[in-house]
């Protein structure tokens, strides 16, 4: 017989087994009778010799080999029957588990999509990034850098181990077709799409001869832009777009969803056609470089080769390349610092899941104790200890899997809204979905939690003293389970404490941070980037005039109080950092202190309402002809000059590139939290320097104007002035646009979004854990008090009052709760340290956080224990004593 026959002809096999053993017993008995024993005695002896027919049968069944499968099926059916008999237990356990597993699965789905999935290019293991590194720079501040365009060209030509391609971030105004729009532009080397192995869906990629100065202007459109401006028409290829006043022929369309370094661009152009000076300067490092390993080469070979190339370049061009080298690394998705937060949240939901497991375990244990007699009966009928443990585990595994199934359903539905409420944009959000990795994870977690909460009750399956257990009621053997229940409650409380304290810490941090002074008055300020008409950018004099015109027109818009131009804003990405020194003997760049530089027009101080501490701010007399001046903030004043008055002193800023790099300090203003309310205190560069836009020499006008923003203080709600601002600033040709419009209030609030989000989530998790722990305490106490009914009966018969009984039960509960609190606080302190590492601006754990959170827990625990206590106090001593 093969295994499935054995499995499916069970009845026949059972009959045959029965028949075979019966024959044996009969033969043995008749032999014994022939030897002169009485028939009864003969039958008894033959049974003894076989060791009990049922045990013999069990052993034979074990010998079949398919036994485990049969048992599994039977245990499964049995488990379902047991759950049907106790639907309220089943519902509570299933919901608890579904919630815990669902939340854990949601977090894992995020981690899987954002952190674990490989890049969506083919053969991603072979992709590398190439970065520049210099020992002349302060690596702590700047880290690794991009690559100079000429260096890239040299490496691309020389490298044998890598095919490399480069991209440059840029932007521009598209004036045709459709409404003028500021677009996200990538200037790329011709090989980029082929290095990434991304096919162009329509048309073709750039040819190498198009990637040169003087070639005919060509462009590839991003899918989104193509949909917006050409409604996805196929005849877009061959037609043209006007970008920054220049007509580009469209040669191809990038596939939908194609992202380069994590974001989707509107237009791609060949970088080789760009005549900008900084691309010919080896001291400027604007290119993002990716590469693909040639087949048969390894990462370390590529690294060695590029290091050698870097060395050659340094010898060849010592002025710009001395001390520079290249780093080759596997290309990883760029997800910023999201990773640590995701793992933190997974840890937090893991704790909730643990509480859920402990909860179900204690419910199961209470059941197991009342089932002890049933299990003892089964043991007496021939079930081995392993068999009983297996049966209990099957039951809990089934509970776990059913809960997991529900949990996956919750996760599949819950993941989208969750991704949407993530503060800012979650990187790689499009990769986040339930796939087989997630299902495998959910299955593993379900099985593991099934084992976790099933093990303790299963190991209690009785095997010794069967006779005693069969004879006594379930109640009288429950004493030993009291300690186990106590441990369950303690661990639940401890887990809840960790989450409560963490939530408390986050909440306090949030309160603290939102009460901080941003350094600017964020109310009624509109900030927006602005692109001048491409026609004016060619001529510096025109550019200056255009910005003056913009300011004048904006000031006349109804509701506008004051307006200023500014290049980088507080609390928004983008900054300009330079080293400075207070005397002429400037040390090398990696020894310099650094400051944030901001170029502004004179009204900036009024728009932002930054307090002027000393001296003056800029005015219209600061021009290209007058002495180059700067204004510093009080952080820089303190760092560089201590108690001295900085006004009238000078700063040397070696990389400014104008005014001989020496600047006179004319004023001191208050510090502005440039890195956001949360991030500023930890930022590496905090000191600030303002310089007048009007003093920039002509050579800077074009580049600076590309990055310029305007800030507008309004008397009305700032966004309501936007429409009239847009039309006032459209320009003569109607091609000047405002983009990335925000209010300062939004920026300030966004700078705390992460802290707000985390404290909300931790609050929810803590609430859940608290609720589960309370259900657990209630269940355990109800059960334990139920066990103590006879004892309580005796106490009452001996004169204990109802109040004494309530006190007795509450004391038992509080003992467990305080045990849990003690364990919890120790772990919570460790968890707090972890939080301080991961969350910007995190306040350390203070006693006040504990003092606030612990009473909540004690109160909740007391509330949960009050029901059982009250019931115990109403025990009628007579019935209680008679119960045994």
């Amino acid at each position: 017989m093969n295994w499935w026959q054995r499995l499916f002809r069970r009845t026949k096999m059972e009959n045959q087994l029965e028949k075979e053993l019966r024959f044996h017993l009969d033969q043995h008995a008749s032999d014994l009778i022939a030897h002169g024993l009485s028939p009864d005695e003969a039958r008894r002896q033959s049974r003894l010799a076989l060791g009990g027919p049922e045990q013999a049968k069990e052993n034979c069944r074990d010998a079949r080999g398919t036994r485990w499968l049969e048992d599994l099926l039977r245990d499964f059916r049995y488990a379902i029957r047991m759950l049907q008999k106790q639907p309220s237990f089943a519902v509570v356990a299933l919901l608890t588990l579904a919630l815990g597993i669902g939340a854990t699965t949601v977090m894992f789905t995020l981690i899987n999509g954002v952190l674990l999935k490989p890049l969506p290019y083919s053969d991603p293991d072979k992709l590398v990034s190439v970065n520049g590194q210099s020992d002349r720079w302060n690596a702590e501040i700047f880290g690794e850098q991009n690559v100079a365009y000429l260096d890239f060209l040299d490496c691309a030509r020389e490298s044998r181990s890598l095919t490399i391609a480069a991209a440059l971030y840029n932007g521009g105004t598209v004036s045709e077709p459709g409404e003028p729009e500021y677009v996200d532009l990538r200037e790329i080397s011709s090989g980029l799409f082929s290095v990434l192995r991304v096919p162009i869906v329509q048309g073709r990629s750039f040819l190498p001869e198009e990637d040169r100065q003087g070639a005919a202007p060509v462009a590839i459109l991003g899918s989104g832009f193509w949909q917006r401006h050409f409604a996805g028409r196929t005849d877009a290829v061959g037609s043209s777009v006007v970008l920054d006043g220049k007509r580009f022929t469209i040669v191809g369309i990038a596939p939908a969803g194609f992202k380069l370094f994590g974001d989707e661009a509107d237009i791609y152009t060949p970088v080789g056609q760009d005549t900008a000076r900084y691309l010919r300067n080896r001291a400027a490092h604007p290119m993002h470089v990716v590469g693909r390993l040639q087949s048969g080469t390894t990462l370390s070979q590529a690294q060695n080769e590029l290091a050698l190339l870097g060395h050659h370049l340094a010898e060849q061009f010592p002025d710009t390349n001395a001390g520079r080298t290249f780093q080759v690394r596997s290309l990883r998705p760029n997800v910023g610092n999201v990773g640590s937060k995701l793992w933190l949240l997974l840890g937090a939901v893991g704790l909730v899941l643990l509480v859920a497991c402990v909860n179900v375990a204690s419910l199961l244990l209470a059941r197991a104790v009342s089932r002890e007699r049933e299990l003892a009966m089964r043991a007496a009928l021939g079930a081995s200890r392993g068999r009983l443990v297996r049966q209990c585990l099957t039951e809990s595994a089934m509970l776990g899997l059913a809960g997991g199934l529900l949990g996956v359903l919750i996760a599949a539905d819950g993941i989208r809204p969750f991704v949407q409420v993530w503060p800012g944009a979650l990187p790689r959000a499009e990769e986040v979905r339930v796939d087989w990795h997630v299902l495998l994870f959910a299955f593993g977690v379900s099985m593991l939690s099934g084992l976790l909460f099933g093990l303790a009750p299963a190991l209690r399956a009785p095997f010794s003293n069967l006779e005693q257990k069969l004879r006594t009621g379930a109640r009288s053997i429950a004493g030993s389970s009291r300690r186990l229940h106590g441990i369950f409650v303690i661990s639940e409380i401890a887990l809840a404490i960790i989450l409560l304290v963490s939530a408390g810490m986050l909440g306090r941090t949030l309160l603290h941070l939102s009460s901080l002074d941003a350094g600017v008055d964020v109310r009624n300020v509109l900030v927006t980037r602005m692109a001048l008409s491409p026609a004016t950018l060619a001529d510096p004099a025109k550019t200056r005039a255009a910005w003056k015109d913009v300011l004048a027109r904006a000031r006349n818009v109804p509701g506008v109080q004051s307006v200023a131009t500014v290049d980088t804003f507080p609390m928004r990405a983008g900054d300009n950092e330079e080293g400075y020194w207070t005397s002429a003997d400037v040390p090398p760049a990696n020894k310099l202190p650094f400051a944030l530089l901001t170029s502004v027009s004179p009204d900036y101080l009024n728009v932002m309402r930054i307090p002027l501490r000393r001296g003056r701010f800029f005015d219209d007399h600061d021009t290209v002809e007058s002495t180059p001046v700067i204004v510093i903030d009080d952080v820089l004043a303190r760092n560089a000059f201590g108690a001295q008055d900085p006004v009238g002193k000078r700063l040397w800023i070696p990389d400014m590139g104008y005014g001989g790099n020496v600047f006179e300090i004319v004023g001191v203003v208050g510090h502005v939290r440039h890195w956001g309310l949360a991030g500023d205190d930890q930022a590496k560069v905090r000191a600030q320097i303002y310089y007048p836009f009007a003093q920039l020499p002509d050579g800077f006008m074009h580049r600076w104007s590309e990055l310029m923003s305007i800030a507008v203080r309004t008397e009305i709600p700032p966004l309501s002035a936007l429409a009239s601002l847009r039309s006032a600033l459209k320009g003569v040709a109607g091609d000047q646009v405002l983009y990335e419009v925000r209010t300062m209030e939004q920026l300030a609030s966004e700078s705390l979004a992460e802290q707000r989000f985390l404290s909300l989530l931790f609050g929810i998790f803590a609430g859940l854990a608290l609720l589960l722990a309370c259900i657990g305490i209630y269940g355990v106490l109800a059960y334990l008090t139920g066990q103590r009914v006879p004892e309580i009966g005796v106490r009452m018969a001996l004169g204990a009052t109802a109040r004494d009984v309530i006190r007795l039960v509450l004391r038992q509960s509080l003992g467990m709760v305080f045990g849990g609190i003690a364990v919890g606080i120790v772990t919570a302190l460790a968890a707090g340290r972890l939080l301080m590492h991961t969350v910007d601006g995190m306040q350390s754990t203070e006693p006040s956080t504990l003092i606030l959170t612990i009473p909540v827990l004690v109160l909740a625990a007391l509330l949960a224990s009050f029901g059982p206590a009250l019931r115990a106090s109403r025990v009628d001593p007579v019935t209680a004593l008679r119960q045994d």
Binding site: K19, E20, F23, Q27, G51, A56, N59
Partner: protein, 114 residues
């Protein structure tokens, strides 16, 4: 699982194979035969006899048919398969080598190696 047997591990299977090799036989007769032939030295725990038979049957070393006994009752008769015979031969040989080796060791004089 099976109760502890007085027999060394694995020998019960060998003995069963040997007894069955003499001709088709039912379980009770195997137990009787083992006890008689070994002159009562080998006490087969009857509780582990049937699991062993079923195990050997599942491994394809034994086959079984239901036949009538002399007394006219139906009983399950076990016989050796070809695979069982090969197994018996190799195991018997192994067993013989083992006994010889153990015997040699036990014959060593107390004084040490000669």
């Amino acid at each position: 699982m099976a109760e502890k047997s007085d027999l060394p591990q694995g020998t019960l299977d060998l003995l069963i194979l040997k007894v069955v090799a003499l001709g088709p036989v039912h379980g009770y007769a195997i137990a009787q035969r083992l006890e008689q032939v070994s002159r009562g030295v080998v006490q087969v725990p009857q509780g582990s006899l049937y699991p062993a038979l079923h195990r050997l049957e599942n491994r394809g070393l034994l086959a079984a048919d239901w036949e009538e006994t002399e007394s006219g009752r139906e009983a399950k008769f076990y016989r050796l398969t070809r695979k069982g015979r090969t197994q018996l031969e190799t195991e018997a040989a192994t067993w013989q080598r083992l006994i010889d080796a153990v015997g040699l060791v036990l014959k060593l004089s107390e004084g040490g190696a000669e």
